[in-house]
Symmetry: D2
Subunit: 420 residues, 4 copies
Amino acid sequence: MALAEKKKIKKVVLAYSGGLDTSAIIPWLKENYDNCEVVAFCADVGQGEEELVGIKEKAIASGASECYVADLKEEYVKDYIYPILKTGAVYEGQYLLGTSMARPIIAKAHIEIALKVGADAVCHGCTGKGNDQVRFEACFAALAPELTVIAPWREWDMVSREDLLDYLAERNIPCSASLTKIYSRDANAWHISHEGGELEDPWCEPSKEVWTMTVDPMDAPDVPDRVELSFVEGELVAVDGKDFSPTGAGAYEALVYLNAKAAAHGVGRIDIVENRLVGMKSRGCYETPGGTVLMAAYKGLESLILDKESLKYRESVGHEFSHVIYDGRWFTPLAKAQLASAASFAEKLTGDVVVKLYKGMAQVTQRRSPNSLYSEEFATFGADDVYDQKHAEGFIRLFSLSSRITALSQKAAANAKKGS
Amino acid sequence: MALAEKKKIKKVVLAYSGGLDTSAIIPWLKENYDNCEVVAFCADVGQGEEELVGIKEKAIASGASECYVADLKEEYVKDYIYPILKTGAVYEGQYLLGTSMARPIIAKAHIEIALKVGADAVCHGCTGKGNDQVRFEACFAALAPELTVIAPWREWDMVSREDLLDYLAERNIPCSASLTKIYSRDANAWHISHEGGELEDPWCEPSKEVWTMTVDPMDAPDVPDRVELSFVEGELVAVDGKDFSPTGAGAYEALVYLNAKAAAHGVGRIDIVENRLVGMKSRGCYETPGGTVLMAAYKGLESLILDKESLKYRESVGHEFSHVIYDGRWFTPLAKAQLASAASFAEKLTGDVVVKLYKGMAQVTQRRSPNSLYSEEFATFGADDVYDQKHAEGFIRLFSLSSRITALSQKAAANAKKGS
Amino acid sequence: MALAEKKKIKKVVLAYSGGLDTSAIIPWLKENYDNCEVVAFCADVGQGEEELVGIKEKAIASGASECYVADLKEEYVKDYIYPILKTGAVYEGQYLLGTSMARPIIAKAHIEIALKVGADAVCHGCTGKGNDQVRFEACFAALAPELTVIAPWREWDMVSREDLLDYLAERNIPCSASLTKIYSRDANAWHISHEGGELEDPWCEPSKEVWTMTVDPMDAPDVPDRVELSFVEGELVAVDGKDFSPTGAGAYEALVYLNAKAAAHGVGRIDIVENRLVGMKSRGCYETPGGTVLMAAYKGLESLILDKESLKYRESVGHEFSHVIYDGRWFTPLAKAQLASAASFAEKLTGDVVVKLYKGMAQVTQRRSPNSLYSEEFATFGADDVYDQKHAEGFIRLFSLSSRITALSQKAAANAKKGS
Amino acid sequence: MALAEKKKIKKVVLAYSGGLDTSAIIPWLKENYDNCEVVAFCADVGQGEEELVGIKEKAIASGASECYVADLKEEYVKDYIYPILKTGAVYEGQYLLGTSMARPIIAKAHIEIALKVGADAVCHGCTGKGNDQVRFEACFAALAPELTVIAPWREWDMVSREDLLDYLAERNIPCSASLTKIYSRDANAWHISHEGGELEDPWCEPSKEVWTMTVDPMDAPDVPDRVELSFVEGELVAVDGKDFSPTGAGAYEALVYLNAKAAAHGVGRIDIVENRLVGMKSRGCYETPGGTVLMAAYKGLESLILDKESLKYRESVGHEFSHVIYDGRWFTPLAKAQLASAASFAEKLTGDVVVKLYKGMAQVTQRRSPNSLYSEEFATFGADDVYDQKHAEGFIRLFSLSSRITALSQKAAANAKKGS
């Protein structure tokens, strides 16, 4: 919008959180876009009830004509987190993609509201230096390219919380936001992220105040706990014997359960410097308690079931997919093709895994599966039928044949030289 | 040898450990291979002094004509572990390749002795179901394809420790080995592996007795410790301010230092089911205390220095290389090419990293580098020079252009249909 | 079988071609395996009628109790070639996998017959130095691991055609095979391969006599021809306006049509040195006339439809899959996962492509698609809606941001040094 | 510059071609950038003498203060084309990267002149929809981020040749450019590209007029020719017995020779739709006569020397690198790491290859090498020493072991079900 001719906007749907930024955006949109109608939209992806209480009233008070809250919690876990889990995607070796995974479903619900209310624009409150602007707008482009996208942080001149508070005060819009906020956080059912404050110096260890979702490992119980996860065809169906299948408590409740158990043991904290899609680095701390356990269990099950070449390839799919999802490319043929590969491998992923929780660690200690390539049946196949140690010689000879030929050729060439 | 015509063997060099298996192999070779001369060879790769004390005498007592002990410790860490570290290779997501990495250097030294003493065969005590037979023999094929390889475990009929003890007793060869040994272990400067016993059931959690190198996390100090590692161009040069550069205490001592510090905090234990090269799965427990810290620190430094596409590619090199080294393909053009890539990235890897040790965890908490892409200098470049938030709009538009075109095409096609 | 204890075999199904080798195998099996019953099995994968005429009589005359001929032509093209085509797999840059693709379907039909007739063994006539033994036996292991596999070429002592002819003559089994045969060939609907003779010297250009399926480009028409292929969701449905969909003439007839047209123009000849799975190199000449056109057309259509990252990934899937199919790993989770990815991309592959045929070349000259990302509609979107040239600046700035930061950091560091 | 505050520019170096666009840019720069001094820079990368004749005079006549012509021909072939050749990079299956490869060396020379003359800006004449703007500016960012980049096509309002001619006429600047130009072309020693005209419709076959560098295959000789290329460690040192090593005629002359010979046979034409880096597709025709032969020969040599896993990996390096070079990321750690891998493989690439040229085709027919894994020596190793057919059984058993275990597990599970 900064670059193109400004179109006349009649109605815009704003991704609204109730926080300071999006509260200020409501009046700003009306003042800068032809006194357009502003519809607030809030996605419930499990970020916590405290953020949602009274949000409709707040939106109206700030000048929105309506406020929609969409409960996406079950769909988020079932149709986004689970399929991604099957790819095994981890970004840059550590990041479990908690923020990235939530973006496509929020964008999709956002667009659905926009189409429903007949809006001609959508608006988000992401900054101009982050990934989320790209993720949201890439999804918008794929779903409703005809809608105008408004990104106030790339347009206005306000740069601080003070500017925003002044802006609201001038307009007599009530706001309970504080002047200072050390950390910038983003939460959903899968994780919470923390940036800012002392974290901006990567040579600085995070203080205790950074973490909000998990117990400090030093304060965690001195005795380990264990959690048992059961999967059927790659889907988590039970935890500690409780039914979390679609006909049971469901996927979202499974994650809530895992989060509680893992958080109590300080599991799931990471502290990383990562490469943003927009070309710069950032330092973030993340807490993904339940997700860390779920990922460990899933990979523990894979270790029992996938053969060497399959596991190697699944890992490369996950490696590629971690960038696809991090970059917001969910609604693309590429994402679809990689998810199809992962789903294919997942068909065999049935079994149980026990994860031990202790002082920040989540370690797989037990795993079993009817599809195990290391099954108890195996020993009974008998040596003759399955594996004769003498087969190894032939294997080795052919496996190393090209090395042998190379060495023999070199010797032959060397001898030829000596001879001449 | 089982398959080909047996050649007449005059002198064979045996990879000798002083244990039960290789003690029995000495007389067996002489009896089964034309009363050949058996030269014992023992590689010191940091497996511990207790294994090396009195080993020459033991070899002679078992019937060897000579016994060579090669001190490979410094070369192992400097020329094998460090270059591999630069690839970031981790096998199947967890295994730090402790056994695999030692095989090529042992094989090379083995062949050097064989050529020096004019042997016409080499012999190892690996079983016929494992990876090591492949790794050793693949290296032999690349280095000295003209030598005959003898693998007694694929030839003889003995199957138990009892068989071996009886075999030695019948020949009046002294042996202090016990009748039962629960776990099969393999150690070097980088790690120790454990297999067997209750571990053969992957549904069974490892008992306390499995672990030998690290303190149980439950018994580790209740207060975290920190260790600072300094790298220059990808090489570890100092730890906690101590000089471990080539002109200082050296690479092996650095690892000894890191092992001691990390082991005291229970760091570096893993428990996995892995895919062997020979097509079956095995369950192993590994302890890699210092290596875990070193790898974490190296990757922590990378996170500060490598850009998004570079890090992604380095990860894929490491992923590929993990199989190359696991499979014993060190002396191949493929390994050389991948190491060249990793070495190229490593040229920029200069800086310091602090790793926090606590109850089994090793977590990077601080990192700094003159080559950081997230340097303190960065903030001072000023917004105009380096990053204008308004650039983001153009970036997003082009980044998502194909999604936009796809969506517009689909809409155009849908409209065309409606119209007709 | 050479290594394990020989089991008692009652009935064996032999992959029978009517040629010299498999004719000799029938009596050899009976003599060496307990006078077992030998059932001949012949797969019709489009290798040509001349090989199939009178084959049942020949099998019986050689001592088989029965002879089954399975018509696999349509299934081969539809369920094997088409799915593989979607991966874009080409082995080592050139080989269109003509022999490899036929192996899994033949193995599957082979096993089906074996299970139907209650055989306890299967037998093939592949040599011990080639890929086919691995491909067939890997499929057998996946489909019926309980069946014994007999591979006479790895067991008997015969080494030449003369040996085989003598063997048959001694037993009064009629055989019209000639004493000398320069080239070893293998044909199916997709291609024919040639090995042996002067081709064994890779410094020797193939003579005219090598080629059998295509016209010599020098003898091809002096005027180009064109062929138009139409695809719906990745499946070839029409060629030159003729209906070859499942409700039309079908997939096999499409290939017959393409073969005839392309062969007349000398299209599809390659001459390569390739890496066999068993570790050695071989030199082969291949003719794949219709396949070359089909692959070119498919990729031409992709070029119009797949975006940059999707095409890049599809290429990497094809690259991986070329080894999977070459190595005979069709019945594996890995193959399934890669095919799933390729099938996902293929969903959009609808459109027409014209390929020009001239003197050995097949070149795409025209392509169109309703899913084109380069559609005629595109121009009419208007600059503002889809692409503003001014967006490019922002894109470039972020795209090259890490290079810029790197350079600025280096300059800052250099200046700091000068200053000190 | 459109977005940031315009800086005051004193001296700018323009990449000048003598064509209409850059002729108009000279006065435009002076008028729009503070009457700055404009220095013309022209890179000779083998685009042909006709483009360089009188270029200095033309530049001065258009208002430039100076004009530098840099002869980059030898460096271009030796230090850019050859290293890239070793990666085997081909973009999207067909494009030999002729335009992409020239960009980094031109950008580097451009910056060198800019630093030498003390310029504060650089300027190029690329359009805002193409790849070249990104490639040049990405290189500028890596080499001299402190210089301002001016891209007139993204700034001014002129859109047609007529606009530019009027602009020059109004200023009395002589220009011999014609009003209409059907095709947009770009040439260097390696290739020439063609865009525009009827090519903008991908359903339209290119007319005869498109092609300028090669003979139409229909007009090419009716008799094939052959060319022999000799490589030492991956570098082309001789063609048809002529010395083109660094101490001979050199790399550039080798390419001139190959171009002449291949062009006469119509070799090297391609017609493709490609994905631009900026997110849109374009259709281009390219002629790369000598390059096509060189690439075919190099890969022919590889086929004799690289083992299966090495060749597979080299292919994946080339696949990745094709995007790196296409995208203009030459001056990055990623490019350096991939080139290091390719250079490592190339060390063994010594030998001779014969390529047959006929009616547009370049086909390898002969290849030999002292490092061949298919050497004439090989046959003489003897079966026992190198390959015993009986080894194949063991190989196959282990190679297919996981398939066998999978199948046996499934049967065991099925039987267990039946039993219960």
